[in-house]
């Protein structure tokens, strides 16, 4: 009897010890995030000023800023969003609503899962061979945006599919029963109900694209750009110009990479400041995504 009690006590002891270890390991990530943020903040905060956002990079760390970098990031993101959203959502709709259960669908599915696992730098090599040299887009904003499109396409497709899959079949059947065609059902019932999930996926995809560096380095984004792309508004007819699409560019993470690779302490401070801006951008986007998911989940009750 005593022996059994002792064994139970030992088992319980290990059970509680593991609970503590588990809790601690789950918080390693959190601790790292906090340290990282604190470190960036201490190093970079003094550099965050209005001037930092409105200056071009410079040889002198005190004068250097991120103007060309954030403008580049915004423009590249516009291209990425315009290309990735329609393509990804359309592919998701096809796979969930139209595709039959056959070999071809299976191949597409395995293929998309595989695309999601390919290292980002491989997409950079693809974009270098395909967009820069084959389609001759050059080392431009268009190339950069399309490279990131390829990268986040699997994210958008998978989010779209998941959102659509959550819609009960009764909704579709009700629509068909009233004589709606497939597209009418998708357009007026499936898409509105899945908007929340799709938006969440798109924002998470774009927030990943904002932080991506490697594929843009391979397509030849420059590390030192002291000018802005051509303005999209022009004084001549038709007043809108797309010249900026083919301009060379830099983006926030590349600017950060460039500064961190230099030996001087001053540039490291700039890197930290750029890091804060970049982190805030991605965290805000992720926050919005979580909020949207929460809102839509609350609003829709099947």
């Amino acid at each position: 009897m005593k022996d059994i009690k002792r064994r139970i006590a030992i088992s319980k002891y290990w059970d509680y010890t593991f609970a503590t270890i588990g809790l601690l390991s789950s918080f390693v990530g959190l601790a790292l995030l906090l340290t990282l943020f604190l470190d960036l903040f201490i190093d970079g905060f003094p550099r965050l000023s209005y001037k930092f956002f409105t200056s071009f990079p410079s040889r002198f760390p005190e004068n250097a800023g991120i103007l060309s970098a954030w403008v580049g990031t915004v423009l590249v993101m516009i291209v990425t969003a315009l290309a990735a959203i329609p393509l990804g959502v359309a592919a998701g709709i096809y796979l969930e609503e139209y595709a039959g259960k056959n070999l071809f669908t299976n191949i597409i599915e395995i293929n998309i899962a595989n695309l999601a696992g390919i290292p980002s730098i491989i997409y950079g090599l693809l974009a270098l061979g395909l967009f820069v040299y084959f389609f001759k887009f050059g080392e431009s904003i268009l190339t950069g945006g399309l490279a990131l499109t390829l990268l986040i396409l699997p994210v958008v497709i998978m989010a779209t599919r998941e959102a659509i899959r959550a819609i009960p079949n009764s909704i579709r059947e009700a629509s068909y029963a009233l004589g709606a065609t497939k597209w009418q059902t998708v357009r007026w019932h499936i898409l509105p109900y899945s908007t929340g999930g799709i938006l969440t996926g798109i924002i998470i995809g774009l927030s990943r694209a904002i932080g991506e560096t490697a594929p843009l380095i391979t397509v030849g984004a420059l590390t030192f750009i002291a000018f802005l792309p051509t303005s999209p508004l022009s004084s001549d007819f038709p007043f809108i110009s797309f010249r900026w699409l083919l301009d060379p560019f830099t983006v926030m993470p590349i600017q950060l990479f460039n500064w961190v690779s230099r030996p001087q302490k001053g540039f490291h401070m700039n890197a930290a400041a750029a890091g804060i801006v970049l982190m805030v951008m991605t965290l805000v986007m992720n926050g919005i995504a979580i909020y949207i998911r929460y809102r839509f989940r609350k609003k829709i009750k099947w």
């Binding site: 088992s11 319980k12 290990w14 059970d15 593991f18 609970a19 588990g22 809790l23 789950s26 918080f27 990530g29 959190l30 790292l32 995030l33 990282l36 470190d39 960036l40 329609p86 393509l87 990804g88 359309a90 592919a91 096809y94 796979l95 139209y98 595709a99 597409i108 899962a113 696992g117 390919i118 290292p119 980002s120 730098i121 491989i122 950079g124 090599l125 693809l126 270098l128 061979g129 395909l130 396409l153 497709i157 065609t181 497939k182 597209w183 990943r208 932080g211 991506e212 560096t213 490697a214 391979t218 590390t223 993470p253 990479f257 961190v260 890197a271 890091g275 982190m279 965290l283 979580i290």
Partner: protein, 294 residues
């Protein structure tokens, strides 16, 4: 009228189909471009020399094209990352799926996901300017660029991939199996290690494999903090170069299109592509297996 609707429906379906098929076009063009661009490289450099050479100096006046230094560099950083990510990720997954109260799980999981959302350049900054100086206090021999510090940071970075996939696998184990174990008087720990982990084994293996593939393909952390020096070494205290950081280094310079140097990045890319492809496919089938079982 009906004909018009039918035509429209057909047209829309065709557009949607083409969008879905574009993913296959992407994979095909990756393979074609990598093969096409590295073909010229392998025509000049015998593949045996590429695979067995211990010196990788393509940009020197007397270039050598032995890929082994990149292999050891990649192996080194990857194994350091995994020795951090696997235990922590697995323990976190067990804790979250078997121990944690609902509230803790709902707060910890999104935070873990955030780890994967932080841009990798920021991790690189952190490895080079925060972790390395701290490690140098304990290990005086540690050089400013090394494999250890980016390896550790990469490991923490891939915890969410490991933990979320293995947690899914453990949750897929049917309740009655767990209840059977508890009914026999087992503690949560005994149930976790003797019942749930064996039952979810293929899913956990998939999580590990996804972690490996992430670590192999990770670029910016090693490019910033590991030093970009192709060293044929297994010493984690020395600077190393991985496949990914080699591609970054060459792309940063001005390498003219079509030269042998330009083609080397595609040769490195094709090696990287097949390594990750192998692990991805393996992981995919292991995950499919556990889904089938329960």
């Amino acid at each position: 009228m009906r004909k018009k609707i039918r035509l429209k429906e057909f047209f829309i379906e065709a557009v949607l189909f083409l969008s879905a098929a574009s993913s296959i076009f992407i994979t095909l063009s990756i393979v074609i471009i990598l093969f096409y661009e590295s073909y010229g490289f392998f025509k000049k450099i015998p593949i045996i020399e590429f695979l067995t050479g211990t010196q990788w100096t393509p940009l020197f006046a007397e270039p050598r094209f032995g890929v082994l230094p990149l292999v050891t560099g990649t192996l080194l950083t990857t194994s350091i990352a995994l020795s951090v990510a696997l235990p922590l990720g697995l323990i976190a997954a067990i804790y979250l799926s078997e121990y944690a109260p609902h509230k803790v799980r709902e707060t910890v999981k999104p935070v873990l996901e955030l780890l994967a959302a932080v841009p990798t350049v920021v991790y690189g900054y952190f490895a080079l300017l925060f972790l390395t100086p701290i490690l140098q206090k304990f290990i005086p021999d540690l050089s400013g660029f090394n494999a250890l510090s980016p390896g550790i940071i990469m490991g923490i970075m891939i915890i969410p991939y490991v933990s979320s996939v293995s947690e899914d696998a453990m949750r897929a184990v049917p309740m009655h199996i767990k209840e059977g174990s508890y009914a026999m008087g087992a503690t949560r720990l005994q149930t976790a290690f003797k019942v749930i982990i064996p039952a979810a084994f293929s899913g956990i293996a998939a999580a590990f494999i996804i972690g490996i593939s992430r670590a192999i393909g990770e670029t910016m952390v090693v490019a910033i903090a590991a030093g970009m020096m192709p060293n044929f070494t297994f010493n984690p205290l020395e600077p190393v170069q991985t496949f990914t950081s080699y591609i970054v280094m060459v792309s940063l310079g001005d390498v003219p299109h079509g030269t042998l140097e330009y083609k080397t990045i595609f040769a490195a890319g094709i090696a990287l592509f097949f390594m990750t492809l192998f692990f991805n496919i393996l992981g995919f089938f292991l995950r499919a297996k556990i889904r089938e079982r329960y």
